[in-house]
Symmetry: C2
Subunit: 278 residues, 2 copies
């Protein structure tokens, strides 16, 4: 059953007492299940009664031509939550929906404290994350062979395979020190991994990609170059995967994967020990 | 009412047919509401009946000493969802809970298509994101004054105020081309913004920080240096904020904010026009 999509997008508000970024991402993946168009508007930092009323006015003033508004809320304060819940819209309470069953299974009440997680700028986890970002930047594209002993993971692969965004994502999201090293024609001629890496083989993870896709990506950067030629891309990918196989380095293809999917696959590999409970 | 927390963490599984990253972040912010300790285990890419049974075995083999397991699911396929729903645990269905009311308000069924959002490696949005990351890396710390006309935002501030992680986050999460420029003593002596920036003033956003916190951060990097001295940090911050005030540049303090909170504040400022509906 498919009803033709309304040409005007449905307006979706995300109302949060924090940044609302997680709720925005979450609502986006649920909305992707519908053959309709949406326009998401995030209303962050709604942590007082006044701001709650402001949010409600904004929602209630949505032009009716867009249809009934949809509101996802993550609001810890019961008073604020109750006010926003009265908006003239479909209000989906992402917070209270799950807190109630959790209170029951845990045998305790939730603290209803706003931003318990957000005041994280002073925590060790936060410092680790900033440190990991700095580390990954300093160790991007084989720039530095110093302190590789501190790396949590070292990504290798040919130019434009996706090493840099993946390293930065692992650092930013998981606080992992992710170095990355390019595999270049000189390495293939020598038939050896870059020598800086030989002592750290157990931390290496490879990225590969379909040569056709690689050629496309490289052509956007250097149109018509030998570097971008399909034949050259085929050669480099063949050599790189042969090297990974020879050195028993695990690898993943980035061809049709998002950064998040590549990062998750790497995490599964390097953290597989941690998912086993003692 | 506070019941003493169990010394053993409660085990929380996140079972997703995609990466489960959004669900992990979401469950983390809900669990932060409880004075208890948790251990999160993400089980990603559960998109077949076989993998669903594997996930259930893993959940059911949780040692009872940890208490009843908690499971957050985001599973699109009804059969897979139904299998995981039978795990011996508190299963919180983050997907179906919201899909049903959305189907009603939208007057259409959800597609139940897995990974509609995840196959994004070929989309324009994805390419923009990769391009933005490359742009932000190339324009980190005033490295390049080329193509500033393409920047969506240019962050300015003194050394170690948080420009680099914020720029990378804006690029990675929102596909924004975020350049950043340091404000250095020479700029303060001249009493002018770096001259490359003068033509782009409407895109500039400032970051500032408490001098005490800045001194702490700089001391971790260069202990005992003049650069890290509280007196010097006070001087730089005073000069930087005076310059921003003089040039009518909006700014935000990063002192006790996470990267997400800083980014959200900047987005609110630069996108305020977009939240007004025509």
């Amino acid at each position: 059953m498919t009803i033709p999509a309304n040409p005007l997008p449905r307006i979706v508000y995300i109302v949060s007492d924090g940044t609302g970024i997680t709720a925005e991402n979450f609502s986006q993946s649920i909305l992707a299940q519908f053959e309709a168009s949406f326009r998401q508007i995030r209303i962050p930092f709604v942590d007082t009664v006044d701001k709650a009323y402001d949010a409600v006015s904004q929602i209630n003033s949505t032009d009716p031509k867009y249809g009934r508004a949809i509101v996802f809320t993550t609001l810890v304060n019961p008073e604020v939550n109750q006010i926003v819940g009265q908006a003239k819209a479909l209000v989906l309470d992402m917070f209270q929906t799950f807190v109630a069953p959790l209170e029951q299974t845990l045998g305790m009440r939730s603290t209803h404290a706003i931003n318990r997680l957000h005041h994280n700028a002073d925590t060790d986890a936060y410092k680790n994350r900033i440190e990991a970002i700095n580390y990954s930047l300093a160790h991007d594209d084989g720039q530095s062979n110093q302190n590789l002993v501190d790396a949590n993971v070292i990504l290798v692969g040919v130019s434009r395979v996706g090493k840099t965004p993946t390293s930065l994502y692992l650092a930013m999201q998981y606080g992992l020190k992710a170095a990355n090293y390019p595999l270049i024609p000189e390495d293939f001629e020598r038939g050896q991994l870059p020598k800086d890496l030989l002592a750290h083989k157990q931390k290496i993870f490879g990225l590969t990609i379909d040569p056709e896709r690689l050629s496309e990506i490289r052509n956007e950067r250097r149109p018509g170059s030998n570097y971008a030629k399909l034949e050259n891309c085929r050669y480099e990918i063949n050599e790189a995967t042969a090297m990974m196989r020879r050195e028993s380095i695990p690898w993943v293809s980035t061809t049709s994967k998002s950064i998040e999917e590549i990062a998750t696959t790497i995490l599964q590999a390097i953290r597989s020990d941690k998912t086993v409970l003692g």
